[in-house]
Amino acid sequence: MALPLPQGLVPTEVAFLCEMEMVTIVPRQRLESIPLLSGDTPALRPPHRAQMPLWLALLLKKQRRANIVPPAWLHPASLADIIHHETNVDPQAFSPPPPPPTRADGRTGRAKPLQENIRRTREQPKPGEDPRLAPPFLPSCTAESPAGYLPYHWLELAETLLAHAADDVPAASEVRALLRDLQEVRAAKMRGSTASLEGGGGVVVLRGVGAMELAESRAFVLGVVDGVRKLGASAETTRRDEEANGGGGYGGRNAGGGFEDSDDEMDFD
């Protein structure tokens, strides 16, 4: 009964999460609203666009009831821009994630006029707003999402669209080639980031990394971090004791017992 999977999401679970991303569709048939557990679906009236979770959009697509409108960042020009940014502008870091939208409900029934949306996505969120929404519930993969930014689930979403709705993606073969390039550039950066893991600095920031990229290298990254920690446990305890004796405030909190425990743990793993 208990789940035999290791700690942390595996790629199949990430793909499952990605299917909750909202995408824009153009219905080809009328369809009444369906009462679902996650709320009612919008009633479909061709040719009005609607926002749907990806899994439902794919179901409609397979039954030829709708076409999927690919997000703006999946356009060849946008992808080429991102690759340019990744290779030339900032060859060290990942390209920045999309700016947080002010209206983050992701389930508005109808598409907003484009101008209004562009204005909105450039605004900073106002204070006092519910900041808790995060992918896959941000509308970062709808037709109105800003071009030039890769959302958190970019790789899975692009692959799924190319696999099941390739005829809806403009210049699909070009997009495929660009995605391959992008993936390689970013995979190299992901591998490069292990150099900073080795240093044992405590906090590593990976701004703009994608969900699938994390899932792919999760076991490796976590293994390196934990391995470095266990190897350096005694050195760390000594350093902390010294800091505590020298009047340092931060070290005292966890110097003692916690690390002995982790040494014991090592024998069983």
Binding site: A2, L3, P35, P97, G201
Partner: protein, 221 residues
């Protein structure tokens, strides 16, 4: 659509989400968090799982009612409803199983103090207690019984060494910042201290990430 809906539509600052959507978001978040942490997290106290289970039960009833009338138009709606139902059930099941795996691994640890016991739901507590009792009885019957009475404990803490296996709280996790915040983390050679921005993905130890996650400054990914 009444006047409130219209107001909500034009006001970008209100989070006018239906309760169902919010529950799906919460459920997804607790599932991801439970899958990513080395230790068991608290059972949601706002009745989230009970609410979701209630909805699943009524949705199953709806499916049964719809299967009765063989209207070709409601046929497709039925497929959609059933697909979603399966996705929802997967989420709940995977969440519960992930918790169960942690309870199984460190049953004695989670039963040891009232604080830790409070993290378990009623059913989980009953399961853990009974499971541990069965296990102890089995050990007693098969080999512990032939030892001296002082050697029969499974939770001996004498001599400063505890027999109870605990989860490693220093394991590394990935978090995403939900707002700008300062992130401090312990490291081997030096302690890290960075100014994080919204949306940053950060690798750090769970013991350092826990306060951020508890205050909803960050979520696990």
């Amino acid at each position: 659509m009444d006047i409130d809906d219209i107001l909500r539509e034009v006001d970008p600052s209100s989070s006018g989400l239906p309760a169902e959507t919010r529950d799906l978001q919460s459920l997804t978040r607790v599932w991801v968090a439970e899958r990513s942490t080395p230790e068991l997290l608290s059972w949601p106290t706002d009745g989230l799982v009970e609410r979701v289970n209630g909805r699943i039960a009524s949705q199953i009833e709806r499916v049964e009612a719809l299967t009765g009338d063989m209207d070709p138009r409601s046929n497709f709606a039925l497929i959609v409803i059933q697909t979603e139902l399966e996705r929802y059930k997967f989420l709940v099941r995977s969440y519960l199983r992930a918790r169960l795996a942690k309870v199984d691994r460190h049953a004695l640890h989670y039963l040891s103090t009232p604080d830790l016991r409070a993290r378990l739901s009623g059913t989980e507590l009953a399961y853990a207690t009974r499971h541990q009792a069965l296990l102890h009885n089995h050990y007693l019957a098969s080999f512990l019984g032939s030892f001296g009475p002082t050697l029969q404990n499974l939770n001996d803490t004498s001599g400063n060494i505890t027999m109870i296996d605990t989860p490693d709280l220093e394991n590394a996790v990935f978090i995403r910042l939900l707002r700008d915040a300062r992130v401090q983390g312990k490291g081997v050679d030096a302690d890290g201290d960075v100014e994080g921005r919204t949306g940053d993905i950060i690798i750090l130890r769970w013991s350092d990430a826990k306060p951020l996650v508890d205050t909803e400054t960050a979520e696990l990914v």
